[in-house]
């Protein structure tokens, strides 16, 4: 690396729009990725995240808006002139070159000195020493992935773009590569922009996540912040699972809003409420909810819903997932950790649900309750005209 060349700069997207014909893939997007950050663009397929990445790489030109690296506008810069490198979804390794030449490709184009030493160091970093003379076709998926990473990283880009780089790997290898990627990013401190549709992957790796939907950013923040305090139904369903109950705000006191929902009065901390009045959705994560038999003594403080009946039990060792049918007909999800303190509830048991008031969040009631719930969307698509509620 040349002295004086700064490692990384803020990546700034201003009002970036991309249209393909009449289809708007990315709609007036504003985004700042701080230098050295591990940033994840998370969303379902077709949400515009890959298009956004390709515009940063220079492989697509924005219809409107600007992209800058630090003070430098790169909106119209040709891809091969940008200090940005990409790890492609399918790796796109050159099949006619061996590992060494694949990794050295960028250095050779820039007539960098000391190519052999740099390649060796990079192969050490990705643990591929000894594979120099292999061709991509002779490598496993995980090894190809690491070559793709080395080929991009060796150029010391200011921003490294990763387009679903782990999508083709099996689960175990994916976990391993997630840890490795995170380690490498921490070691070298280059800004990573990681596109993925896997919410768990985004949460384990990224410092900041932008959840995208329909060409827009729904919410941006740290993983725990997004998970604990989602801003929209889409985020609450796409990042993990949520129980959302329709209700109406009926009062306010002592820093809490009170909502009438499911025949009970539920409290929500004011700072966790996205709206203050009218029709709302009360949300709580399944692992925050406790189940108690209806005839147990009721000594709980906090939010409580009674009159539920266990409709489904699925035991997975670490935890148990209960589906609880409420009197309204809505089914709520509860994850119970397998602490061994109590046996499983049988289906048909009458139960009561309760959780801490601080764990409740409040969303605008005018949204689609099932937005971002991929399992529901798929189910709705297959049962034509069926109402699963």
């Amino acid at each position: 690396m040349q002295p004086g060349r700064e490692l990384g700069a803020d990546l700034v997207l201003r009002s970036v729009t991309k249209r393909f014909g009449s289809f708007t893939a990315v709609d007036d997007l504003d985004l700042v990725v701080g230098r050295g950050e591990f940033f994840a663009l998370l969303g379902p397929s077709g949400c515009g995240k890959t298009t956004t990445l390709r515009m940063v790489a220079g492989l697509e030109e924005p219809t409107a808006g600007s992209i800058a690296l630090g003070d430098r506008d790169i909106t119209r810069l040709r891809p091969y002139k940008r200090p940005v490198n990409t790890v492609f979804q399918s790796y796109a390794l050159f099949p006619h070159l061996d590992v060494l030449e694949n990794v050295a490709f960028g250095l050779r184009r820039r007539k960098s000195p000391d190519v052999d030493r740099q390649v060796r160091e990079m192969l050490e970093l990705v643990q591929l020493v000894g594979f120099e003379r292999r061709r991509p076709a002779q490598l496993s998926g995980g090894q190809q992935q690491r070559v793709a990473l080395a080929r991009a990283l060796i150029n010391r880009p200011q921003v490294l773009l990763l387009d679903e780089p782990l999508g083709a790997l099996d689960l175990k290898l994916r976990r391993q590569m997630q840890i490795e990627l995170k380690r490498i990013q921490t070691d070298i401190g280059i800004t990573f922009v990681h596109v993925t549709h896997d919410q768990e992957e985004a949460m384990t790796m990224a410092d900041t996540i932008a959840v995208m939907n329909g060409g827009l950013i729904e919410q941006l923040g740290a993983p725990d912040e997004l998970y604990e305090n989602p801003a929209t139904t889409f985020v609450s369903n796409f990042l993990g699972q949520s129980n959302l109950l329709a209700g109406t705000v009926s009062g306010k006191s002592g820093g809490f809003l009170y909502v009438d929902a499911g025949g009970e009065r539920l409290a929500v901390p004011e700072h966790r409420a996205r709206v203050r009045e009218g029709r709302v959705l009360v949300g709580v994560r399944p692992e925050k909810v406790f189940v108690a038999a209806d005839d147990e003594e009721d000594d709980t403080v906090g939010n409580r819903l009674s009159g539920g009946v266990i409709s489904d039990v699925s035991f997975s060792g670490v935890s148990t997932q209960y589906l609880v049918r409420m009197p309204s007909g809505q089914e709520l999800v509860v994850f119970e950790q397998n602490t061994g303190a109590r046996g499983l509830f049988a289906p048909g048991t009458r139960v009561r649900l309760h959780w801490a008031r601080e764990h409740t969040f409040l969303l605008d009631g005018s949204q689609d309750v099932h937005a971002g719930d991929e399992a529901y969307v798929q189910l709705a698509a297959t049962t034509t005209g069926g109402n699963t509620r």
């Binding site: 091969y80 399918s90 796109a92 050159f94 099949p95 006619h96 184009r109 076709a137 150029n155």
Partner: protein, 302 residues
């Protein structure tokens, strides 16, 4: 498929199994049989006959009959007598191959990457000339390149051709005809190998600091080498033995080894020398191809 039949065989009980296995083992050879017989009858036997003929006593004739005298000198005689047409064959074939590559590569590239919805139409247009006969198409070039034709007129007008210059009956006409006739054999394999190249590789190249020219040189061209090799061989080999273009578009001054073989066999009836020329041509082409394929290094491409 094989997994399926295997499972069928194991679950279906032991009865018919061994017999069926055996038939299956012979199926491949049975299918090969017609082709193998054809090759034996019409390729292997004639080739051996040709080689044998090339070693007959050169003083024999159809009337007196030929005696096998292992006259290796036939080869020396043939090559020394017809050195010029021999070299001319390779010169014309080489020129036509280079020209066809220069014309065909951009065309194949355009069809593979830029044609969009016109791709199929363009491919049909490449093949369309085959709907008329090879002879008719070559004769058509005779009128295109004729002394009063517009091509000569135009070239004379811009001074590229002298006032009494001509194209027909020159080497230029022969090479033009060869190039034209074998162009589709260049374009189709080139298209097939270019079309297989993943455009994302070129994107990856541009992401790694390769401009358009460098991307082409370091990615597209090496990956299309199998097509280049196939196309040049399919153009060069038949061009080297062709004698129609020289006959229709050239004069005896342009005659190549194809014309000589044709003439020696059918007019002079000098079978040993004609056979020696044929074998020499075959051996020369095979050697050239072997050297070329090795140099092009296509075996490295997976």
């Amino acid at each position: 498929m094989s997994a399926l039949t295997e499972a069928e065989a194991t679950t279906g009980g032991g009865g018919p199994q061994p017999g069926r296995r055996r038939t299956r083992r012979w199926t491949g050879y049975l299918l090969l049989l017609p082709g193998a017989l054809w090759l034996l009858l019409f390729f292997a036997v004639p080739t051996m006959q040709l080689v044998a003929t090339s070693l007959y006593d050169p003083n024999g004739s159809l009337d007196t009959g030929y005696a096998m005298t292992w006259s290796w000198t036939n080869y020396l005689d043939a090559i020394s007598t017809y050195r010029e047409p021999f070299l001319r064959s390779f010169l014309y074939a080489g020129s036509a191959t280079v020209l066809a590559l220069l014309l065909g590569y951009p065309l194949a590239y355009a069809i593979a990457f830029k044609a969009g919805r016109w791709k199929n139409l363009m491919l049909v247009l490449v093949i369309a000339p085959f709907f008329t006969s090879f002879l008719v198409r070559t004769l058509a070039w005779k009128s295109i390149l004729s002394d009063n034709g517009f091509v000569v007129d135009a070239l004379q007008a811009v001074g590229l051709l002298g006032a009494d210059g001509r194209l027909l009956a020159t080497g230029v006409a022969v090479v033009t005809g060869l190039t034209y006739n074998f162009l589709p054999f260049m374009v189709l394999p080139l298209y097939a190998s270019l079309e297989k190249i993943d455009p994302r590789l070129v994107e990856a190249g541009s992401d790694l600091y390769a401009g358009a020219v460098t991307s082409f040189r370091t990615i597209t061209l090496p990956l299309s080498m199998p097509g280049v090799v196939a196309g040049t061989l399919l153009t060069f080999i038949p061009s080297a033995g062709d004698y129609i273009n020289t006959r229709l578009l050239g004069t005896p001054q342009q005659y190549t080894i194809g014309n000589v073989i044709d003439n020696t066999f059918l007019v002079q009836l000098d079978f040993p020398i004609a056979a020696a020329l044929s074998v020499s041509l075959m051996v020369a082409v095979v050697l050239l191809v072997l050297v070329y394929v090795r140099r092009a290094g296509t075996e490295k491409l997976v």
